[in-house]
């Protein structure tokens, strides 16, 4: 469906990793970076804003917020 923001294009190798259901922390950060860029944000800014709940209201931001949650859990594991 038409949306204002462009959905990030995920490179083939990362798509293949996603299809397995399991990402390395580097791959997870790569996906976060793609979604952050789609929101015109840097990775660090997006992570900071996801934690603060101040990302733009958009489903890409919702997805990004959930991925940041995963990143935090990966670091604490």
């Amino acid at each position: 469906m038409p949306i204002v923001r462009e959905v990030p294009q995920v490179p083939e190798p990362l798509q293949r990793a996603i299809s397995t259901g399991e990402l390395t922390e580097v791959q997870l950060r790569e996906l976060i970076e793609l979604e952050a860029n789609a929101l015109s944000l840097s990775t660090e800014e997006a992570i900071k804003r996801a934690k603060a709940g101040t990302l733009p209201r958009h489903y890409i931001a919702d997805d990004l917020t959930l991925l940041v949650d995963l990143l935090q859990s990966a670091r604490s594991a």
Binding site: Q9, G21, L34, E35, Y59, D63
Partner: protein
């Protein structure tokens, strides 16, 4: 049968596959994808297309809308080497065509994000104007309390209130059975 598994990944895959079956018999062929960091303690279940986040297009009586469903889950040990899935956070949104901002956002977090947050952890927000006395507010200004909102609740809302044409004649039974399974098996009392 509880949604358990020997590992978080196994239990989450059961959950994800179950939801995809429910979606395919109710409102959309779009598929939820399971994703988690290697050796992580949490996983995400959300709509994805070619790896990227996706909103399932739904034809409603009010026009085309995009449905986003996303959850983060973890597992709690149940003994005998089994893990049971619980939801840590969810976000469900419905966005009208050509709108950037969702009209409704149902959100839940199991724990407040910091020591200062005191809003309702289960709430709905949205780009909806509210006549509230002399002050102009929108639903985005409030954390309007909800109970725990299941994905089945959202799918029912899409069919009954938004007029999405169901993908099977027995959609009501599919949702009821899935809801029963969620209440009795997936979410042990006290964990949602």
């Amino acid at each position: 049968m509880p949604i358990d598994g020997r590992t978080l990944g196994e239990a989450a895959r059961t959950f994800c596959n179950h939801l995809n079956e429910v979606l395919a018999r109710t409102v959309t062929q779009s598929r939820l994808v399971l994703l988690g960091p290697r050796e992580g303690e949490r996983v995400q279940v959300a709509f994805r297309e070619r790896g990227g986040p996706a909103a399932a297009p739904l034809r409603t009586v009010f026009g085309l809308m995009g449905l986003y469903l996303g959850q983060v889950c973890t597992a709690i040990p149940m003994g005998a080497g089994q893990q049971r899935l619980i939801t840590v956070r969810y976000r469900y949104t419905l966005t009208p065509e050509r709108s950037e901002e969702p009209l409704w956002r149902w959100e839940y977090v199991r724990e407040w994000p910091d020591d200062t947050a005191r809003w309702c952890r289960h709430h709905v927000q949205g780009n909806v104007a509210l006549p509230l006395g002399p002050t102009a507010v929108t639903l985005n200004d409030l954390h309007l309390p909800t109970g725990y909102v299941t994905i089945e609740d959202i799918l029912r809302f899409c069919i009954v209130d938004l007029g999405v044409r169901p993908l099977s004649d027995n959609w009501h039974d599919v949702l009821e059975e899935s809801y029963r399974r969620f209440r009795e098996d997936f979410a042990p009392r006290g964990y949602i």
